[in-house]
């Protein structure tokens, strides 16, 4: 149970970074940390005590495996995270070209 609480704390650290830092790139890094926390939480859900990695082999005798379903799902989620990070970085590079700064206090043309 404490492992799950630690995942939640990691998520809060990422969210804190997203809220407090004023540089666009640091916000992207904050979102990355939050994403790692959620992926980690999911994989930890499948963990069993004294179990092995879920690779079936000619030489494996035991049947005591960790749950492989979350691992397959998180692989997909990591790739999705890669895609979103790529889009975010591309947009922030273009924002730098137009606004000449990464500081969000300056990027405020849309209001009201």
């Amino acid at each position: 149970m404490s492992l799950y609480a630690l995942c939640f704390i990691l998520f809060s650290i990422g969210l804190y970074c997203l809220l407090v830092k004023r540089n666009l790139v640091k916000k992207i890094i904050g979102l990355g940390i939050a994403e790692y926390a959620v992926n980690l939480f999911f994989i930890l859900l499948g963990f069993k005590e004294n179990a092995e990695a879920p690779i079936l082999d000619k030489y494996t005798a035991s049947q005591n495996f960790v749950d492989p379903l979350p691992q397959a799902l998180i692989l997909t989620s990591i790739v999705i995270g890669l895609g979103v990070t790529a889009v975010m970085v591309a947009i922030s590079v273009r924002i730098y070209e137009k606004y000449r700064t990464f500081d969000i206090r300056e990027i405020r043309r849309l209001k009201g």
Binding site: F11, L15, L18, L24, K27, L31, A34, E35, V38, F41, F42, L45, D67, L69, P70, L73, T76, S77, I80, G83, V84, V87, M88, I91, S92, R94, I95, K98, Y99, I107, R109, L110, G112
Partner: protein, 491 residues
């Protein structure tokens, strides 16, 4: 047959980059052809579900081991919304996108968006829902920034960050449910959660789901991205976003998860109703002072989605039917309004209401369709908006929530006032300097707008058969709650 809903737009999205190198201009026809095929499929699915829900096991693996795709009455309603508006918006974009520099990229991204939305609607598995939600979201982030002007990039970045946080919260909630029940198939989850009573982890997951999907739907207090993102997108994309994406990705997913998997309780129902009421009021009050045409429409989207969530949150048969009918109607008239604003901007070059005027003489078709759409959204009989708002208000009075019903009525009055202002400033007064000599917009744009206006009128005049055939069965599925598991897994 069900996988074709996902296979056709995905195939179009993958083939368009290859084909547009071979022959210029083939992108538009591939995309439009695939949207037309999807529309025909979703209309014919009305007949397929007459006998009961259809379940398709992808790859031959039976649920709960494999991923299944489920087509029941609620899905059919949502698929109709997506593919109808998708096809008409693509028709509109055939002419509108010519002023951007990379049209084939637009069609690719749009086909991916359609694939993501369709996959979300037919998915029977929670993780599959999440993956298609991400596909739809990423395409919409890129499409909002399509013009790459400064303001569009800023709006897209805001939507990106908030949307990403919402997705992470949804994934967290899916994780909590998975940890409780060890399965991700929605029907199987519903069954396992029946034997475990509604304990704390499931309530925590529900709260996370409401926040995550509420961010995607732009319920107040999660609405901050919508007034920036919807005006900044190109007009057909605004119509698609406001008319389809926030509903499918937000309201449909929330309804499916909360009603069919977790099971509605009075606590969750009152939370949804309160959020709906606040959205209605805040959206309309913030819209009064707006002078930018599209920003005003975006704020009205927030308020109308408040109606839908309030209706669905009521949980009574009349309320849910009213909410779902309003979902369908809103997609019709809000898309038409955004397409109108795009036509106005295309012809005059501005969106500021103070600078427009006299367009009813120079752009007769646009002003006629916008009149029909404005009367619909304000709730004037016999157009479609009136009937769905009446259903919601009647349901609220019957359930005893008179405060909510009074807020509904007042919001409808303020919406009427706001759209009368739009009609007066943009269309009815004498032409200002900027607006002399503008001409009507090209053919395909007119075609799409006229078709949508005719559908608004038809949905209003012919609403009884539509209600019986499409909306009432969909409401039935929602109210069945966890008995959904019985249909999918076969008793």
């Amino acid at each position: 047959m069900i996988p074709l809903f996902v296979a056709i737009p995905l195939g179009a999205a993958f083939i368009i980059p290859l084909m547009s190198k071979v022959r210029e201009g083939s992108a538009r026809w591939i995309a439009t052809g695939s949207a037309l095929a999807l529309l025909c499929l979703s209309v014919s699915s009305l007949w397929w579900v007459q006998k009961g829900a259809l379940v398709y096991s992808v790859g031959g693996w039976k649920p709960p081991f494999g991923i299944c795709m489920v087509l029941d009455n609620l899905t059919v309603l949502v698929l109709l919304v997506i593919n109808l508006i998708g096809f008409l918006v693509l028709l509109y974009s055939l002419d509108y996108i010519k002023k951007y520099t990379a049209p084939s990229l637009y069609y690719t991204l749009f086909s991916l968006l359609l694939a993501g939305l369709n996959g979300l609607a037919v998915s029977g598995d929670l993780f599959n829902l999440f993956v298609f939600l991400e596909i739809a979201s990423i395409s919409s982030y890129a499409l909002i920034a399509f013009g790459t002007e400064a303001e569009e990039l800023e709006a897209s970045f805001k939507y990106l960050v908030l949307g990403n946080v919402a997705d992470l919260l949804i994934l967290f909630a899916i994780g909590v449910l998975f940890g409780r029940a060890s399965t991700l198939n929605m029907a199987d989850l519903a069954r396992s959660l029946q034997s475990i009573s509604l304990t704390d982890p499931v309530l925590y997951a529900t709260a996370l789901f409401i926040v995550g999907f509420g961010l995607k739907t732009a319920l107040v207090p999660f609405h901050a991205w919508l007034p920036d993102a919807h005006p900044a997108a190109p007009a057909p994309m605004s119509a698609m976003l406001s008319g389809v994406v926030i509903k499918v990705v937000g309201v449909y997913a929330l309804t499916r998860v909360v009603f069919n998997v977790i099971g509605i309780t009075p606590l969750i129902s009152s939370v949804l109703m309160v959020l709906g009421i606040i959205s209605m009021a805040a959206g309309v009050l913030l819209a009064i002072g707006q002078w930018d045409f599209k920003r005003l429409l975006a704020y009205h989207s927030i308020s109308q989605i408040g109606y839908v969530v309030f209706g669905i949150g009521l949980g009574t048969p009349l309320g849910v039917a009213g909410g779902l009918f309003h979902l369908f109607n809103h997609s019709l008239f809000k898309s038409l309004l955004f397409l109108n604003s795009g036509a106005v901007e295309h012809a005059t070059g501005t969106r500021d209401l103070r600078k427009l005027g006299g367009l009813c003489r120079t752009m007769p078709v646009t002003s006629a369709t916008s009149l029909i759409a404005s009367l619909s959204i304000a709730g004037v009989p016999p157009l479609c908006g009136f009937w769905s708002k009446l259903l919601i208000i009647m349901a609220a009075f019957q359930a005893g929530h008179t405060a909510g019903a009074v807020v509904c009525i007042l919001t409808a009055l303020v919406t009427l006032a706001s759209f009368l202002k739009v009609q007066k400033f943009a269309f009815l007064r004498a032409a200002e300097g900027l607006c002399e000599g503008v001409r009507e917009v090209p053919f395909f744009m007119l075609c799409a707008m006229v078709l949508l206006a005719l559908l608004c009128i038809a949905a209003g005049v012919f609403f009884p058969p539509f209600l019986e055939l499409v909306v009432k069965p969909a409401a039935q599925v929602v109210l069945e709650g966890r008995r959904y598991a019985g249909f999918v897994l076969g008793g």
